[in-house]
Amino acid sequence: MNQPAITQRRAATGNAVEIRDLHVRFPVRSGLLRRPVGAVHAVDGVSFDIPEGQTVGLVGESGSGKTTTGRALLGLSPANAGAIRLFGKPLEELATPEKDLQKLGQLVFQDPYASLNPRLTVGSTLSETLYVHGLSDGGARKQKVRDLLDQVGLRPEIADRYPVALSGGQRQRIAIARALAVNPRFMVLDEVVSALDVSIQGQILNLLLDLQREHNLTYLFITHDLSVVRYVSHKVVVLYGGQIMEEGPTEAIFGSPRHPYTHTLLSALPVPDPVVQRAKRGLEIRTEPPSVTDPPDGCRFQGSCPFADDTCRSVAPGLRPAPSGQRVACHHFESIDIPSDQIGITRDV
């Protein structure tokens, strides 16, 4: 695929984030001298954009490269190749001083139990972040802490508590408040509701949507949970083995998924409906993640795909547009026809 010269497009595209042909590899070392003997291809040629003020849902299973992609966007995983631009500027330019990049983009992690310092009160945690980013006046900091807590729907008294005294949902609110402290324009949200109870997940997702509207925030929403992603995302990118299998408007991905892997993901999703779940009971779901150190020739999904043929085993499919509006990396998506009421592609394999 031709690489469009993103330098020419500047910020006029309205894209907050532009990624082109991103590659991230981690060396595999072995032996006494820890010599590199190979590499894990965590992200292998990923390109997508996030328009300002919108959310892209980055979906994939463990080892798909979704977290590495998110970290690379904030300069936390060095890219081996490819270009990243945030708000029109190349990442390399933004990365020094580090604080400038932090002011632009913030990361919120999955585990609110591990991401807060247990020895600091909530107030100190937030205050410290504000101090590091140049708010030296103590009184102003106190006021700002109160504002931040208010923004994430917490009462000011929480400032005096330690993380241990808070519920998972409250902790995740604090983690979000800490990210908001620098007034970022872009946030990478990595599995932010996965560790929370279902009844609480909705509170956090509603909060994130409110904050997005209020501050015109741009989100990369990383998750393995398709049901959540549909609700928050304007666009969905499906990753598998470090590559994009399918990407496009949320309605297209969920309404008429075209890639066999997207079908597999959707059919594996447990739905709170006994009739649907029982009907899916006969489906056989197989996924055998491809080797990350020695990825196969051709399509990454070939090992688990019931439609794979010789072409799939030799030629890597590029992303091609589908009539329903998304782009699909599959040689055969036009000829694969799965009734929409039967989203289990591995039946009768």
Partner: protein, 356 residues
């Protein structure tokens, strides 16, 4: 009607294989106990699947540990009893209880990685109980382990016996745990959040595997989860727990189509639907999950309940039956029509869309 054929017919109840009656579990001193399980009762018939659904702190895992007499230091059964095949488990000797644990009731726990010994090969860990308790020879145990790994769908099983746990993926480790759990032909399999840490495709495979094995080996299954979607397809009955108590228990179809407890209903409507349009606000349950250290007067859900009556804050609502057959029980005095009215047009009410 797509319901399960093996579902217990209400008119002729089958003798339960596992029966929990009024079970309470407490930690700490007798004067200031922390009650984590309160008056929990359920029956499981042979071959039946019971789903126990609850969020963190609801007491679902403590219930399981109490059933197996495996409560942590400081925990005790402070009331009620557990019967397996008619025998009261609290009165059994350690020796007999050990026998029940492998051959009667087996447990698959949540965290496959920490349930396996990291420094012991899979084969040896699997063979140990077979040699120690069932008196198998080393070679017979090995043969049995190979069969078991094959049964749970692990490719090249003989080869895998030589692997260490860290060499296996999360899904494979969970399969090994399942193989170990069924190795001594238990009559009841208890799976405590068996798929929580796994990817969604692996999760579906593991749940299907557990249910296939149940049918094949004629076991009863108690599946503990926080995810109503996970139990929807395989459970015959579901008990919903909140703050240490079962607040509603019914057939799976009744729970999804005609639930009567506001917590069950709120839980169902807080789950993002697969067809949820983007931006349409989710309906989370307001407030915080219950803290077991707090003793809420009356119904424990009342601080978060949008339907709570004055009486709900005063005394614990009694368990009432929705119909005469006693299949559908719930602890809530709120009028069902009031429930549905307050929840708007999307609400489900008994009789509307019910399948049974």
């Amino acid at each position: 009607m797509t319901g399960k054929t093996q579902m217990t017919h209400p008119a002729q109840p089958v003798e339960p294989i596992l029966s929990v009656d009024g079970l309470s579990v407490s930690y700490g001193s007798a004067r200031q106990p922390l009650n984590v399980v309160k008056d929990v009762s359920f029956d499981v018939a042979p071959g039946q699947v019971l789903g126990i659904v609850g969020e963190s702190g609801s007491g679902k895992s403590q219930t399981v540990l109490a059933v197996l007499q495996l409560l942590a230091e400081g925990g005790r059964i402070s009331g009620g009893q557990v019967r397996f095949e008619g025998a009261e488990l609290q009165s059994l000797s350690q020796r007999r209880m050990r026998k029940v644990r492998g051959q009667g009731i087996a447990l698959i726990s949540q965290d496959a990685l920490s349930s396996l010994n990291p420094s012991m090969k899979i084969g040896r860990q699997m063979a140990e109980p077979l040699i120690a308790y069932d008196g198998l020879s080393a070679s017979a145990a090995r043969k049995r382990c190979t069969e078991l790994l094959d049964l749970v769908g692990i490719p090249a099983p003989a080869h895998r016996l030589e692997s260490y746990p860290h060499e296996l993926s999360g899904g494979m480790r969970q399969r090994v745990l399942i193989a170990m759990a069924i190795s001594r032909n238990p009559r009841v399999l208890i799976a405590d959040e068996p798929t929580t840490a796994l990817d969604v495709t692996i999760q579906a495979q593991i749940i299907n595997l557990i249910d296939d094995l149940r049918k094949e080996l004629g076991m009863a299954l108690v599946l503990i989860t926080h995810d109503l979607g996970v139990v929807a397809g395989i459970a015959d009955r579901i008990s919903v727990m909140y703050a240490g108590r079962i607040v509603e228990t019914a057939t799976t179809d009744q729970i999804f189509a005609a639930s009567r407890h506001p917590y069950t209903r709120a839980l169902l409507s807080s789950i993002p639907k697969p067809d949820q349009p983007r931006g349409e606000r989710l309906k989370p349950i307001p407030g915080l999950p219950v803290d077991p250290r707090e003793d809420v007067r009356g119904c424990a859900f009342n601080p978060r309940c949008t339907h709570a009556l004055a009486s709900c804050t005063e005394s614990l609502p009694a368990m009432i039956a929705a119909e005469d057959d006693g299949q559908h029980l719930f602890r809530c005095p709120v009028d069902p029509f009031r429930l549905a009215e307050a929840e708007g047009p999307r609400a489900r009410l008994q009789g509307n869309g019910g399948m049974s």
